[in-house]
């Protein structure tokens, strides 16, 4: 009889310290050798992970009230502006916001502030208000640390892209992009997912992921807050359900105070700007053999488009379809030409996260949470267009 397991059954095994946990890479040869039904009986949880630059990230901060109190209208942290159009001492610091007073070559942004806070360092807070009857103070300046402020809630509107286009440059000039340095005349290719270990590629139609899913976020326990921005689940798919390019996205949240600088890292992309490496791990419940077949996806089964960034348009040409087995091998063949490839997300860190999350589950401290609402299927994107008469 085909095996079926509920979240409750899997969590009971986790509580008892008896759950069998493997990573999404380790399960691939197991399924090849034993078949999906057998693996569904023996394995309870499969861990997936990614550690890549995720620009759409940031943190909600509450600084606590000054005396006399101030209603902060503008806020800067180490010279980086945070959005303060919220209640008196709340602000949202975006990872890509850059300090304006830095010398060329000294790019510094919100991601760096987040990292310094995580490292326990002091950050300089400046704020201005207009002075009201209830909030009379007009200016505030002091140093703060992560431990001293009320809250620091990481809330990233778009992380963990389900697949992403690989990048190449057919133009005659070097391009400096968020996909790294793209050399002219198709001299290199960059890509940015962890392939067979990547969370959303292991559950391509979101059976187990959605609002409320408990995850590893930046070294702490976090949650999926729903689908992310630019969620494009209507993307064309392969017969195995894997989308052929950027598709679903996750919005995630967690307590920055509990996170670790080992799994959150500020980054600068030359002539592009600041980004934030975010470590995300998602545990997948082995509900049945169908779930195992999804989790057994290998790099050879996952394809993405090779997009030409040499064409500066929204719809850039797709030059070829390439598999992650090719991309991860170190080169691809394009029309008979051998082009070297390089990742932008760290497989090494992703493996560390998948292993660490596995330890958390095995030790009984991390239970799986069934989502209150799964990620939507069939959602497509709209674009910003010029309208007649404007």
């Amino acid at each position: 009889m085909a095996i079926r397991k509920s979240y409750e059954e899997i969590n009971a095994k986790i509580r008892a310290g008896q759950a069998v946990v493997v990573t999404a890479e380790e399960i691939i040869p197991m399924v090849a050798e034993q078949g999906a039904e057998k693996v569904a009986q023996t394995v309870d949880v499969v861990t997936t992970a990614t550690f890549g630059p995720m620009c759409s990230s940031g943190v909600f901060l509450n600084f606590g009230h000054s005396d006399p109190p101030i209603r902060m209208k503008k806020v800067w942290l180490n010279g980086v502006s945070a959005y303060a159009g919220l209640a008196a001492v709340d602000a949202y610091l975006g990872a890509t916001e850059e300090a304006e007073d830095r010398e060329p070559g000294q790019t510094y942004g919100g991601a760096h502030v987040i990292q310094e806070l995580l490292e326990g360092r002091s950050v300089h807070l400046e704020a201005v208000g207009s002075g009201t009857d209830c909030y009379p103070l007009r200016e505030w300046e002091s140093d703060i640390t992560l431990a001293e402020i009320n809250e620091a809630i990481l809330f990233n509107p778009r992380n963990a892209y389900q697949n992403y286009a690989a990048a190449v440059n057919s133009s005659a000039e070097t391009l400096y992009t968020y996909m790294g340095v793209l050399l002219p005349n198709l001299a290199n290719v960059t890509y940015s997912t962890s392939g067979a270990l990547s969370p959303l590629l292991n559950d391509p139609e979101y059976r187990t992921i959605g609002l409320g899913t408990r995850i590893f976020l930046g070294g702490a326990v976090g949650y999926v807050a729903g689908h992310g921005t630019q969620h494009n689940s209507a993307r064309e798919r392969l017969p195995n359900g894997v989308p052929l390019g950027g598709a679903a996205t996750l919005s995630v949240t967690g307590n920055l105070k509990e996170m670790s600088p080992d799994y959150i890292q500020a980054a600068v992309y030359e002539k592009y700007g600041v980004s934030l490496f975010v470590g995300i791990g998602v545990p997948m419940p082995v509900l049945d053999a169908d779930m195992v077949r999804c989790l057994a996806v290998s790099d050879a089964d996952i394809y993405t488009g090779l997009v030409d960034y040499g064409v500066p348009r929204r719809a850039r040409p797709v030059l070829a379809k390439v598999s992650y087995a090719e991309l991860k091998s170190g080169h691809i063949n394009l029309n008979g030409r051998r082009i070297p490839t390089a990742p932008l997300s760290s497989m090494r860190k992703a493996r560390q996260i998948a292993a660490l999350l596995g330890e958390w589950v095995r030790s009984g401290q991390f239970l799986l949470q069934e989502p209150a609402e799964r990620l939507p299927l069939g959602k497509s994107l709209t674009s910003l267009n010029v309208k007649e008469g404007c």
Partner: protein, 135 residues
């Protein structure tokens, strides 16, 4: 024996055909990978040489006798490896293969003997961990 290094020579030595002597007198096989000579005639050559061990020693002694400084490559380019997250972005621009990822454990590997000091990796590192100075 094969090795790669930069020689830095003072203005007075720029008039001597140093490379010619290395080839003719010491049987060096020389591949010049990078060269600059400043307005003051101070020069730098990044070269890969292959020679018999005793000839190599004699040739390097010859260079030193003309006030030439020999700088190993690993003193000119450094990667702060303990902070590296092994993302691989630097390997995208390293066509010489000095920076590569071990495809088994996905760790960054830096082999300074393959470096040609092009400097492209310096801005490519998102953590700014690479320093390279051809001087």
């Amino acid at each position: 024996m094969r090795c790669r290094f930069t020689i830095k020579f003072p203005p007075e030595s720029s008039k001597i055909p140093l490379t010619y002597h290395l080839i003719k007198d010491y049987d060096f096989m020389v591949n010049i990978l990078r060269a600059t000579i400043s307005g003051e005639q101070e020069g730098r050559l990044l070269m890969e040489v292959e020679a018999e061990p005793d000839k190599l020693e004699q040739g390097l002694a010859f260079l030193k006798s003309h006030n030439v400084t020999i700088i190993p490559l690993n003193q000119q380019i450094t990667v702060e490896q303990d902070r590296c997250i092994h993302c691989g972005a630097c390997t995208a621009v390293c066509l010489s293969g000095a920076l590569s990822l071990d495809r088994d454990n996905w760790q960054l590997v830096f082999d300074s003997e393959k470096c040609v000091m092009c400097g492209l990796c310096v801005p490519a590192c998102p953590l700014r961990l690479i320093r390279a100075e051809f001087k």
